[in-house]
Amino acid sequence: MSPSISVSLGQVAAALALVALAVGISFWRRTDLERDIVVATVRSFVQLTAIGYAIKLIFEADTIWLVVALLSVMVLFGALTARSRAKKVPGAFWPLLIGLAIAAASTLGLVVALGIFEATPRYLVPVGGMMIGNAMTASAVALNRLGDEVSESRAAIEATLALGATAREAALPFVRRAMRSGTIALVDSTKTTGLIFFPGTMVGMLLAGAEPTDAVRLQLILLYLLLGSTAIAALVATGLAYRHFFTPAQQLRELG
């Protein structure tokens, strides 16, 4: 689809000048972010380098099972990371894990079934990683909001339960708001894409020398996939997680 370009380590090192600038600004304006910026820079270097080599191996091995293994690890770490942001939701791990797994499997399955991409590591690994990363953010935001909503609205939820409503009925307004907050950021950025910002894939392809029309079409496919995967992940995670706030007797649990 595009001619490949090579980037030297020297070029990467030169880009660190911008990181130094960010550290300098933080120091100058006393935002106390210098340490975080350095940690983020080192982590991004180590993690991306490692995943770069892992992807290289997977591309060379060219077997679907290694792709499945890599995406499974991504789903697992995605769920663990999102759980740390959804502290008020009891047992958030499984809803997140299932949500991410279904989002990844359904979107990748669809793109292969529709013939958009071939079922090869070169397509499945980067697309899958993107889907899982965005789905993780969406489901973490959604569950974080769900935890806040339920803990702030206990009286309202109990008032509805007291009428003989099911836990699902009592939680529905809060589940809806949580789902909305999980997906709204991507919906908004999709609305403004091309006007206010250029999305990463398109920028990457243009830098790599691809035709602008190719770059735009691929970006559109990915944006639509992202809309689907974030919606699925937020739907499944909130739909499973709200149950953990209730007992089988449709009572709101007392949480510490």
Partner: protein, 218 residues
């Protein structure tokens, strides 16, 4: 007998909220009285299974409460919480929701009338009601389910004197007009005297007295 509680205990963290509570609650109007933190509201919540006790048994109409399906029980033993909490929308949509859950036909004007509100309130947005009006709308919503027992948690605590007197008059009329049992939590023994004919008096999670008003509040 309506409810029979035997050695009912419930802890929240380190705190023993109810400690071996035994009491009998008959039809008519019963007040659960006691100082703040004595476990009154917790006891009320056990009666329609918004919570279950850690130990002990509660029977409703001679049958263990644990044997009732919680949702069906809550439609028959309806609880009006201390602070009004209506669903977004109109008063009528709230009443219709409650009636639908209980499988009843809604007569909004009748429910509003029993709660001391004129039929014009049906179309009002709940966000634009005063606290007193919201409390009455909560009462009307509970009545839309045609419950056999009405549990009222401090029904006038958020209200001024005039609104309190009006709600008390409404509850008095309810008893006269409907075949409904009232169990109300109140921190005010005088209110219990005005509204109830029996009382359960709690102190620090234990029953200090239980029986006819004159004995229980002596």
């Amino acid at each position: 007998m309506l409810f029979e509680l035997r050695d009912v205990s419930l802890a929240r963290g380190d705190r023993q909220v109810l400690d071996a509570v035994s009491a009998e609650i008959h039809s008519g109007a019963t007040a659960i009285v006691g100082p703040s933190g004595s476990g009154k509201s917790t006891l009320l919540r056990l009666l329609n299974r918004l919570a279950d006790p850690d130990a002990g048994t509660i029977a409703y109409r001679e049958r263990p409460l644990s044997g009732y399906e919680p949702l069906a029980l809550r439609r028959e033993v309806s609880l009006v919480p201390q602070l009004p909490s209506l669903l977004e929308g109109t008063v009528e949509s709230n009443l219709a929701y409650a009636a639908r859950l209980a499988g009843k036909e809604l007569d909004a004007a009748r429910c509003l009338g029993h709660a001391g509100l004129d039929p014009g309130f049906a179309a009002r947005d709940v966000g634009k009601l005063s606290v007193g009006e919201q409390q009455r709308a909560m009462l009307a919503r509970a009545l839309a389910q045609e419950p056999a027992v009405l549990l009222l948690d401090e029904p006038t605590s958020a209200l001024d004197h005039d609104a309190r007197d009006a709600i008390e008059a409404t509850l008095g009329r309810l008893r006269a007009e409907l075949d409904i049992a009232l169990i109300l939590v109140s921190h005010d023994p005088e209110q219990a005297r005005r509204l109830a004919d029996r009382a359960v008096r709690l102190e620090a999670g234990r029953v200090a007295a239980c029986g006819p008003l004159a004995e229980a509040l002596a």
